[in-house]
C-alpha cells in the first residue's frame, strides 16, 4: 500500500510539474504548481516528515502560490508569449537535455546509493521535539540570521513597491 502511494504521488508530482512548464496561461501554471506541491507534501509524508509536509503546504501552497496568483491577477498581461528560440538558447536547451539524460541514466543504471534498511533506521522527522532541539542548539545562529533575513526582505519589499515622489512611472 505504501509503495502504491509512493508511485501515485511521484507520478502526480512529475505530471503536474510538467504542466507548470507546458501551460500557456500563467494562472494554469500556478494551479499546476499548487498540485505539484501537494504531491511533494505526500512524498514527505511517505518519508515520515509530517511536520515538513504540513509546513510545505502552509508556506508554499498557502502563501507563495496565493501570492503568485495575486500578482498574475494584478498584472493582467496580454497572452502574447512568443514561441521560437534564438540559437544560443536552443544550444543551451540541447546541452541541458543531454546532461539530464546522461545524469538520469547513470543514476538508474549505476547509482545504488548505500543505505541501510529504512525499517531499521530511526525516522527522526516524525517528532517535533527533534526539530526544536536541533533549532535551539546546533542551528541557533542560523535561526537568528533567518529572522534578520525576513526583516530585510520585508523592508526591501516596502521600498520596492512604494511609489516615490517624482518617479516617472507609466500609469
Amino acid at each position: 500500500m505504501a509503495n502504491f502511494l509512493f508511485y501515485a504521488f511521484a507520478f502526480f508530482t512529475v505530471a503536474t510539474a510538467a504542466g507548470v512548464v507546458a501551460s500557456k496561461n500563467a494562472v494554469n501554471a500556478a494551479m499546476c504548481l499548487l498540485l505539484s506541491l501537494v504531491g511533494v507534501a505526500g512524498l514527505f509524508v511517505a518519508l515520515n516528515a509530517y511536520l515538513l509536509a504540513f509546513l510545505l503546504l502552509l508556506v508554499y501552497a498557502g502563501a507563495i502560490v496565493a501570492l503568485f496568483l495575486f500578482i498574475v491577477m494584478l498584472l493582467d498581461m496580454k497572452e502574447t508569449e512568443s514561441r521560437g528560440f534564438g540559437k544560443l538558447s536552443l544550444a543551451a536547451i540541447i546541452l541541458a537535455a543531454g546532461l539530464l539524460v546522461t545524469g538520469l541514466s547513470t543514476l538508474v543504471t549505476r547509482g545504488h546509493l548505500d543505505t541501510g534498511n529504512p525499517a531499521l533506521t530511526p525516522a527522526l522527522g516524525t517528532d517535533i521535539k527533534f526539530y526544536a532541539y536541533q533549532l535551539f542548539t546546533t542551528y541557533l545562529l542560523p535561526v537568528q540570521v533567518m529572522g534578520f533575513l525576513l526583516l530585510i526582505a520585508m523592508l526591501g519589499v516596502i521600498v520596492l513597491s512604494k511609489r516615490w515622489e517624482g518617479s516617472d512611472d507609466v500609469t
Binding site: A17, L135, Y139, L149
Partner: protein
Amino acid sequence: MTSATLDHYVLISALLFAIGLFGVLLRRNTLVVFMCLELMLVASTLALVAFSRFNGTMDGNVFVFFILTVAAAEVAVGLAIIVALFRKRQTIQLNELNSLKN
C-alpha cells in the same frame, strides 16, 4: 513492485529539478520562470528530506526549514521586483526586456 528506496526519491527529485530547469530555459513569461525556480527549490528539499530519512539524521530536515524561509523571502522580493518592472515597462516578457543590450 519493489519497495521505494533512496534511489527512487533521488530520481524523482532529479526529474523535478530538471523539469524546473527546462521551464526556466524555455519560458518567456517572468512569472512562470519564477514558478519553475520554486519547483527547483522544492525538488532540492525533497532530496534533502529523503537523505535525512534514509540516513537517520536530522540535519537535512532542519535545512528544509531554512530553505522554506529563504524561499518565502525570495518570492516576496522577487514579485515586488516584477511588479515594479511592470509599472516601468508595461511588460514582463523576458525577450522584450532588453534595454541593457545595446
